[in-house]
C-alpha cells in the first residue's frame, strides 16, 4: 500500500501475561571465550578449578578494548566445548558445573552509600570496565566507552521503548525492578554530573508509567521524568528515542555525547546498579521464548545458560513437521540462528521461533511504500536499482550507509522484495569498491 507504515502488530499482550520462570537450576553453564565484537580471548582458569559467583574466569579481547568474563554461578570448571554464538559461529566456551550453592566471590561486597556518593566519572568508567558491562539492548557496545567522554552531559535518556514486536524483556524488567533502574540512573547522573534524567517508555504502557512514577517518589532530589514516546517502530532506535523524549535532534553518525545526551537501555542501567552497589557483574537476564512455533515462556535465567535447556524446560517446539525460522532478538532486526545450541550472553534477549513462510518476490511496481516508511529518509528502491546496475557512485549519493537495517522496507513491500537484504549487499558492495 502506498503509505507510510510505522505500526507493526506486536503480539506483546499475550506475552506480558505469561508468568516469569526463574531458572536457577542449570546444571552446566557455558561462557563463550570470544564474541562477535571480541574475536580473541583467553581463560585464566584451569580444568578442575573451583570458582565462585562474580569471579573472573577469562578475558575477551578486541582491538581497542577488553572484556572480562565472569562466572555467574559457583562450581567446578570442567573444560571447554564448542557452541554457537549470536552469529551462528561455533566458538569455544568454558564449561562450569553448577554446584547450585551460588557462593559469592570475595571481591563481591556492597559499596556503602558514602562510597557511592564519592564516585567520579573516572571511577564509574573503571567499575563498568572491570565488570564487563555492555549495552544490553542488543548492541553489546561497551558501556565504559560511552561513559568515558569529555563532553558535558546534560541529560541521561533511558531507553525502555523496546519497539520490536514479540519482545517483553525490558517490559518485565521495568515492571519488576523499577528501583534498580532508577538507582542505576541516579548513579550515572551523579557520576556524570548530569542534572536531568528521562525514562522513555511507550505511550500505551500506562502500567509502566504508574510503576515508575510511584517508584520515583523516593527520588525527589533528582530531576527524573518519565517521557511517553510514540508506539511506533523504530521508536527504540536511539536517535529516534532521544528526539521523541527530549526533543533533541542528533544527526546520524554523530555521538550523542556531543549534544550533551547519553542514552542507556533500562537493562544496562540495572547492570550499572548491580556493578556499583554490589560489585556484581551481570548475572541474570530476562529471556523470552516466543513465536507460534514454540511454547512461550518468560525466563529469568543466568548468563551462560544454554537455550536448548530452556526450550526443553518450556516444553519444546510446536508442530515440528512445519519448517521453522529461529531468531535471536526481535523479528525485525534479530539475528538468525539455525540451531538452539546457543548460549545466553549479555545481549541475547529472546528466541523467537516462527513457522517458515516462503515469500515469492514479485516485480517492483514503484509504489514507494519503502521510501515513505524509511525512518532515515533514504530510498531503498532506488538503492536496490543502483546495486543491480552496479553503480557505486549512485549508492554513495543515495546514502545507503545511513541505513540502520531496521527492516521496515522489506516489511512493507507489497511485492515481498527483500529490500533490507539489498541494503546490506549495497553496503558490502560499497566497502569492496573502497568507498
Amino acid at each position: 500500500m502506498i503509505t507510510k507504515t510505522r505500526n507493526i502488530p506486536d503480539g506483546k499482550s499475550e506475552l506480558k501475561k505469561l508468568p516469569i520462570v526463574h531458572h536457577k537450576e542449570a546444571e552446566y553453564l557455558y561462557f563463550p571465550i570470544t564474541s562477535a565484537r571480541c574475536p580473541e580471548g583467553e581463560t585464566c582458569v584451569i580444568g578442575g578449578q573451583f570458582v565462585k559467583v562474580g569471579e573472573q574466569i577469562g578475558t575477551r579481547k578486541a582491538s581497542f578494548f577488553e572484556q572480562p568474563i565472569h562466572a555467574t554461578a559457583s562450581g567446578e570448571i570442567v573444560g571447554v566445548e564448542k557452541h554457537r554464538d549470536h552469529a551462528g559461529k561455533l566458538i569455544d566456551c568454558i564449561i562450569l558445573k553448577n554446584d547450585q550453592k551460588y557462593e559469592l566471590h570475595e571481591s563481591v561486597k556492597d559499596r556503602s552509600e558514602k562510597e557511592i556518593e564519592k564516585l567520579t566519572r573516572e571511577d564509574l568508567v573503571t567499575i563498568t570496565k572491570d565488570m564487563g558491562l555492555v549495552g544490553l539492548g542488543g548492541s553489546g557496545f561497551p558501556t565504559y566507552i560511552k561513559l568515558n567522554t569529555k563532553e558535558k552531559i546534560e541529560t541521561i535518556v533511558v531507553n525502555g521503548v523496546e519497539c520490536e514486536p514479540y519482545l517483553v524483556s525490558d517490559y518485565e524488567l521495568m515492571m519488576n525492578n523499577p528501583h534498580e533502574i532508577i538507582k542505576g540512573l541516579v548513579y550515572v547522573m551523579k557520576a556524570m554530573k548530569a542534572p536531568k534524567g528521562v525514562i522513555a517508555i511507550k505511550e500505551k504502557y500506562h502500567e509502566i508509567k504508574e510503576v515508575l512514577n510511584f517508584a520515583l517518589k523516593e527520588y525527589d532530589d533528582f530531576d527524573i521524568q518519565v517521557a511517553e514516546v510514540g508506539n511506533y517502530y523504530p521508536q527504540g532506535w536511539e536517535l529516534e528515542t532521544v528526539k521523541s523524549a527530549i526533543g533533541v535532534t542528533i544527526p546520524q553518525g554523530e555521538l550523542t555525547a556531543k549534544y550533551g545526551v547519553l542514552i542507556f537501555n533500562v537493562s544496562t542501567l540495572v547492570s550499572v546498579y548491580q556493578a556499583v552497589k554490589h560489585r556484581l557483574p551481570v548475572l541474570e537476564r530476562f529471556f523470552t521464548l516466543s513465536g507460534e512455533g514454540i511454547h512461550n515462556v518468560n525466563f529469568r535465567a543466568r548468563i551462560g545458560t544454554k537455550i536448548s535447556d530452556l526450550v526443553k524446560l518450556a516444553g519444546g517446539y510446536i508442530n515440528e513437521e512445519i519448517p521453522k525460522v529461529m531468531i535471536l532478538g526481535g523479528p525485525m532486526m534479530g539475528a538468525n540462528t539455525t540451531s538452539d545450541d546457543v548460549i545466553i550472553t549479555h545481549t541475547i534477549t529472546s528466541m523467537i521461533v516462527l513457522n517458515d513462510k516462503e515469500y515469492f518476490e514479485e516485480p517492483c511496481i514503484h509504489c514507494a511504500a519503502c521510501v515513505y516508511s524509511c525512518p532515515v529518509k533514504i530510498e531503498p528502491v532506488q538503492i536496490m536499482n543502483a546495486l543491480k546496475s552496479g553503480d557505486p557512485e549512485a549508492l554513495q549519493i543515495l546514502q545507503v550507509n545511513k541505513c540502520i537495517e531496521c527492516g521496515l522496507c522489506s516489511y512493507v513491500c507489497p511485492s515481498k522484495i527483500h529490500l533490507t537484504e539489498y541494503m546490506r549487499k549495497s553496503k558490502k558492495y560499497l566497502r569492496e569498491k573502497g568507498n
Binding site: 500500500m1 502506498i2 503509505t3 507504515t5 507493526i8 514486536p165 517446539y317 515440528e320 513437521e321 519448517p323 521453522k324 525460522v325 529461529m326 531468531i327 523479528p331 525485525m332 532486526m333 534479530g334 539475528a335 538468525n336 539455525t338 540451531s339 523467537i352 516462527l354 517458515d356 513462510k357 515469500y359 515469492f360 514479485e362 516485480p363 517492483c364 511496481i365 514503484h366 509504489c367 514507494a368 511504500a369 521510501v371 515513505y372 524509511c374 529518509k377 530510498e379 528502491v381 532506488q382 549512485a394 549519493i397 543515495l398 537495517e405 527492516g407 521496515l408 522489506s410 516489511y411 512493507v412 513491500c413 507489497p414 511485492s415 515481498k416 527483500h418 533490507t420 537484504e421 546490506r424
Partner: protein, 346 residues
C-alpha cells in the same frame, strides 16, 4: 525439525501487489457500470475484445521473452495473477478512454501497441516507462484519427471540449448533467460521479497516491481560473467555466486511474506532487492553446517522460525541502502567468 536460514526481517506486512491491482479493478466498477448502462454492447464487446487480447498478448510476450533453451513449461513458471490482472486493467482503461463508436480495428491495434510496445518491450510489469493504456490511446489518436468514429454525438451535435474557448456544451447541458455523466463523450470519462467514487475507494485503500490527484487537480483548477480571468467570457461566469473544465473531458478519469499508476510515477512524495503539477498544467495548456480532445493522455505521456528526471539520484529525496517548496510555488506562478498572457489577459 527443519530449520530455515533467513535474514531479517522475518515478518511481513499483509499487503500484496495482487491486492493493489485488484483494488484498481474494484475502483473501476462504478465507471464500468456507468459505461455499460450508457453504451451497452458498444462498450461490453470492445472491453471484452481488448481484455482478452491484452491478457493473451502479455502471456505470449511473457513466454517469448525468455532464454532460448528453456522449455515452454519452465517459461511460465513465474506466470502469476500479476500477469493477468494488470493487462485487464490496461485494456479496460484504454477502452474507457475511447468514444463509443470507435472502430474495432482501432481497439485491436491500440491495445496491441499498448501491451507490446508500451509494456512488454520494456520488460513487463513494473518496468514500463509510459502508462500502457495512455501510450496506446496516444498511438490510436495520432495514427488512426479517422477510425475513431465521430466525436460528434448524433443527439447533440457537439461533444464536450470540441472547442474549449467557448464551452458551447453548456448551452445544451447543465453542470449537473456533466457531473452525473449525461453528456456525450468517451465511454469512461463522462461521469465525474462514478470516477470520484472510484477515486475515494483507491485513496482510502491506499492503492493510489492522493498526491498526484490533488496536485494535478489543484494546479489545473488554478490555471483554468487564471485562464477564465484572462478570457473574460461574456455570458458565462468564472465558476461555471472552471467547473466545466474540471468535469468535462478526460481530466478526472486520467488523474484518478492513469496518473496514479505507481509504475509510471516518481518514487517520492515531492516527486509525485511535481508529477501532478506537470500533468495538470499540460492538460490546461493543451486545452487552452491546442485543439486535441486527447489532451489528458498527451499530458500524461509527456509527464511520464519526466519521471526519470524527477527521480534522478542527485536530487531525489522524500523530504519536503525548502528548495522543493520554493521551486514548486515558483513553477505554478510562472505557468499561471504564461496562461494569463496567452489567453490575452493584458
Amino acid at each position: 525439525m527443519q530449520i530455515i536460514a533467513k535474514t531479517s526481517p522475518y515478518i511481513r506486512k499483509a499487503t500484496s501487489t495482487k491486492r493493489m491491482m485488484v483494488d484498481v479493478l474494484i475502483a473501476l466498477i462504478p465507471v464500468i457500470g456507468f459505461a455499460i448502462y450508457k453504451f451497452q454492447f458498444d462498450f461490453i464487446l470492445r472491453a471484452l475484445v481488448a481484455s482478452v487480447l491484452a491478457v493473451g498478448l502479455e502471456a505470449l510476450a511473457f513466454g517469448l521473452m525468455k532464454e532460448r533453451d528453456e522449455t515452454w513449461k519452465d517459461r511460465f513458471k513465474k506466470y502469476t495473477i500479476n500477469n493477468i490482472v494488470p493487462p485487464i486493467i490496461t485494456a479496460l482503461i484504454f477502452v474507457l478512454t475511447l468514444p463509443s463508436k470507435v472502430d474495432y480495428y482501432a481497439v485491436i491495434i491500440g491495445i496491441t501497441f499498448a501491451i507490446i510496445i508500451g509494456k512488454m518491450i520494456f520488460g513487463g510489469l513494473g518496468r514500463n516507462i509510459f502508462n500502457p493504456a495512455g501510450i496506446g490511446r496516444v498511438f490510436v489518436a495520432v495514427a488512426m484519427g479517422g477510425l475513431m468514429g465521430s466525436y460528434v454525438d448524433n443527439v447533440s451535435g457537439a461533444t464536450a471540449l470540441t472547442n474549449t474557448w467557448s464551452p458551447s456544451l453548456l448551452n445544451d447541458f447543465s453542470l449537473v448533467d456533466l457531473f452525473i455523466g449525461n453528456v456525450p463523450g468517451s465511454m469512461g470519462e463522462i461521469s465525474a460521479l462514478a470516477i470520484l467514487i472510484g477515486a475515494v475507494y483507491l485513496v482510502v485503500r491506499r492503492s493510489a497516491d492522493f498526491r498526484v490527484i490533488v496536485s494535478g487537480l489543484l494546479s489545473f483548477t488554478l490555471l483554468m481560473l487564471v485562464a477564465g480571468l484572462g478570457l473574460k467570457h461574456e455570458g458565462m461566469d468564472l465558476i461555471n467555466f472552471v467547473l466545466y473544465q474540471v468535469l468535462a473531458g478526460g481530466l478526472l478519469f486520467g488523474l484518478v486511474f492513469m496518473a496514479t499508476d505507481p509504475v509510471t510515477s516518481p518514487y517520492t512524495r515531492p516527486g509525485r506532487l511535481i508529477f501532478g503539477l506537470i500533468i495538470g498544467s499540460l492538460v490546461a495548456i493543451i486545452r487552452l492553446f491546442g485543439s486535441f480532445p486527447e489532451g489528458m493522455v498527451f499530458a500524461l505521456v509527456t509527464a511520464n517522460m519526466f519521471v526519470a528526471l524527477i527521480d534522478y539520484k542527485k536530487w531525489t529525496t522524500n523530504v519536503y525541502t525548502k528548495k522543493f517548496i520554493i521551486g514548486y510555488s515558483v513553477a505554478i506562478v510562472v505557468i499561471a502567468i504564461i496562461v494569463f498572457l496567452g489567453t490575452g489577459g493584458f
